[in-house]
Symmetry: C2
Subunit: 494 residues, 2 copies
């Protein structure tokens, strides 16, 4: 059937959707959410159909949502051929998983392929996530899923052995160990091609923080070159294009804060496999408000990470760390970057220093270095890590000589003070993160929070607990609205 194109100025935010008139739907025997193939010239695309209510689309017309309109490169009123398209096979496989059956490599490949190419609707992807959540994935299914995600992107070609990597499962403010760990490990002579994410929902991703020092968006070839020159990199992982399936699944998981283990495992290890990692350390912070709150669940994940790593040819070590408060003093790109630089220059921020040495040391041990932790500490304290850091920053196109006091922090600031004297009893990770986001982080790198105290510190009434740095006064006002709840609680001495 031929229909005339009408542009619908709305983005569906992913799934490809078109709208047709009830009569045309009848002719094509279509129901809402059935699929059609659109053909024009040599282009064709498969989309889901919505049947227009109340004559929003006239008979003979087809309304294209922004994504469809743009991907076909068409004009309004052009004619386009519309045909009923059979349901994708991946739906049968999703049904299989709902029915507690085990999926093959091919079946998982089809599902991931269809998710990436926007062939599945939100409802259909939700069935997949539900099935993975309730029925779980076997170890082999998880490894197939890892490979499917991996094959959907591209890989670094490095021709090195071993290749080291680290990952931290989120939920803790600050905690910007990555640039320090990478610098220590590379200074020890190991290859560590670290790719990181930008913030999606968090206050800052590692890539956002590193960007304070140097560009992080590089092509695959450029990343390979940086690693060859310096043994390391600290770049945004987008160039490897693994994020597509991941991002879509995250959107589905969010409303119920689900995080099916099998998908979590696959999503993390696919990113490690994409850089060719052979030895990987995974940091799971445990505490109120972190992603994994219970030790038991962390232990189960540890076991599965190791088993899955083995199937994928990776040695994986998992460490459970204390996630009860932010690590470092800064939250937000610039404030975190300043902490990183201070640690590399041996000028303080001891909690961040300690955790970085612990992670780097354990990663070195995993790669066969005796007394790894001691070695890591030496490398950091002798300034070798800082030297390596400057090499990497220079190679990525940044200024290696920048000093902590040259990092720009916003001058719209507000001191939050203690209402009484006592001891710091609780730090609300989630609330601090929200405040920093509303203040403008990470889009404004100079916004965020500086913590003057940590757990168990003694404070006097009117001492500064933390400082809010906002992008502008308006954002500060919004951020201050959140202070009716206590972000940092003081236990009064009895």
């Amino acid at each position: 059937m031929e229909l005339r194109i009408k542009k619908v100025n709305i983005s569906s935010g992913g799934p490809l959707i078109v709208i047709i008139h009830k009569e045309d739907a009848r002719k094509l025997d279509l129901k809402t959410l059935d699929r059609v193939k659109l053909k024009i010239g040599r282009s064709s695309i498969v989309t889901a159909v919505d049947v227009a209510k109340k004559d929003k689309i006239k008979e003979g017309y087809i309304g294209l949502f922004t994504e469809v309109f743009e991907s076909l490169n068409v004009k309004e009123n052009e004619k386009i051929i519309v045909e009923l398209e059979p349901k994708p096979l991946s739906l049968q496989y999703i049904k299989k998983k709902l029915d507690k059956q085990i999926l093959s490599k091919h079946e998982i490949d089809e599902i991931i392929k269809d998710i990436i190419s926007n062939k599945l609707t939100e409802i259909e992807m939700t069935y997949f996530v539900s099935a993975c959540y309730i029925n779980g994935l076997t170890l082999y299914e998880s490894s197939y899923l890892t490979e499917s995600i991996l094959e959907s992107g591209s890989r670094l070609k490095l021709d090195k052995y071993p290749i080291l990597d680290k990952h931290s499962i989120g939920g803790v403010g600050g905690n910007r160990t990555t640039p320090i760990v990478v610098s220590i490990v590379a200074a020890a002579g190991f290859t560590i091609p670290k790719t990181s994410t930008r913030s999606i929902t968090s206050v800052s991703g590692t890539a956002d923080t590193v960007e304070v020092f140097a560009p992080v968006t590089h092509s695959k070839e450029r990343i390979e070159h940086i690693v060859k020159k310096t043994n390391a990199c600290m770049v945004w992982g987008g160039a490897l294009e693994l994020a597509s399936a991941d991002d879509k699944l995250i959107k589905i998981e969010r409303p119920l804060s689900l995080d099916p283990e099998g998908i979590l495992l696959a999503s993390i290890l696919a990113k490690k496999a994409a850089v060719g990692a052979t030895h990987v350390i995974i940091d799971i912070p445990i505490g109120k408000g972190t992603k994994i709150e219970e030790k038991e669940k962390a232990r189960r994940l540890e076991r599965k990470f190791k088993q899955l790593g083995k199937l994928l040819g990776m040695e994986v070590k998992v460490v459970l760390t204390n996630g009860s408060q932010p690590i470092g003093n800064g939250i937000g790109p610039a404030l975190e970057a300043r902490d990183v630089l201070l640690v590399l220059q041996n000028k303080g921020v001891l909690d961040l220093k300690k955790k970085s040495i612990f992670l780097a040391g354990n990663l070195l041990k995993l790669a066969g270095v005796k007394n790894g932790v001691k070695k890591a500490q030496e490398i950091l304290e002798k300034g070798l890590a800082y030297k390596k850091f400057k090499e990497i920053i220079k190679e990525q196109g940044g200024d290696p000589e920048i000093q902590p006091n040259q990092i720009k922090i916003s001058n719209v600031k507000y001191n939050v003070r203690a209402k009484n004297s006592g001891v710091v009893g609780f730090i609300d990770n989630k609330l601090l993160t929200r405040i920093a986001k509303i203040a403008g982080s990470p889009d404004d790198k100079s916004a965020g929070i500086y913590l003057n105290v940590h757990l168990k510190d003694k404070v006097k009434k009117n001492d500064i607990l933390f400082i809010i740095y906002a992008e502008n006064k308006k954002k500060m006002d919004y951020a201050l609205n959140l202070l009716d709840r206590e972000a940092i609680s003081i236990n009064q001495k009895v």
Copy 2:
């Protein structure tokens, strides 16, 4: 926060959605699919939020989808107050069900309430359907779900005992036993207030067919009056407003053709409970292309219908019938109505007559009538059922004296003939249904299909197998396109 209203001329097809600018989302600390409360004057409404891509909505504005715009009764550029709304509690209960826990009456109530008031997104409803599908519902959960659906609508007040009812689980063409069963049972002196659906995806609903004789849309009070006068009614169930939760769940179930048993049971028995039914017969046709294809599944449903009925104070009898071919000769409202009238006048259509007597007879037996089937046959053959039918039609405002040859059938017709001689071996229920729909049924009541043969009939080459009646020539052309597959297959004699 105050934002200015912008109208987005798109219907989301159910869930309430608004779009806001990225900056405003940040100020409110909102992510895509979070919820906001909109307040203007004394009205307020809770909707899901989409964050605008590519500046479709400017900072300071809020885009309202059609459903939201209309329900608030606002104008463009008016200011509206927008606040972050906590997630509904029902999400926690859905999560509980995903985690294999059993839900309480209150929890199921909350979920259904939020589904009906459009507070849950498609993703969230899909999680509920998945959880019901995979983890199942206990008998008590099904009864709570029935009650929740029931309480979301209204009930007939009839003050009678017993009250009889029937239900047929679909998938078979024709099969229009309801008007005949209702007439027989009411003629036998029993109360049978039958509510039916209009077609959603099928070629004709019972309500569509009865509408050929008389109006079927009546208020609750009018329905009660009709039943008081005639012992019966044959009306559209919309007046009882039970369909809302049902329709929404059906939309979610369709892409994977899921039909979680617990939801199916609740959805059917809620409609029976709404008319106060005490004795119910349920017909499950089994055969290729019907809704329940396997006998084993039908037997399990039978057991559960009985148990759940008991909890709800209903006696339920389930009969498994042959669903391998259409029942009666007509498919489509007018053609089915003609069959019904012919049976009531004892002028043929023997398969429809036989099945109607079987169902009515078993229902009478269930209500304590000895030799129920014999009694049903007598009532039909003595013309008592026809007399009762005319009473009901008259009371509903139709013409009781209409004759079979006065029922208008379309004159755009096409004879589909046998390509060879032999015996009718297979009738493709699904394909016939599609042809009838594309020909214009049920919106055009005069369109549909007339079957000249049934399974095992002998035919000669060029005999008419069935006749297509289309709304107009264009629709006939579309319908004929489907004839490349054989709707009725002839096995040649060897």
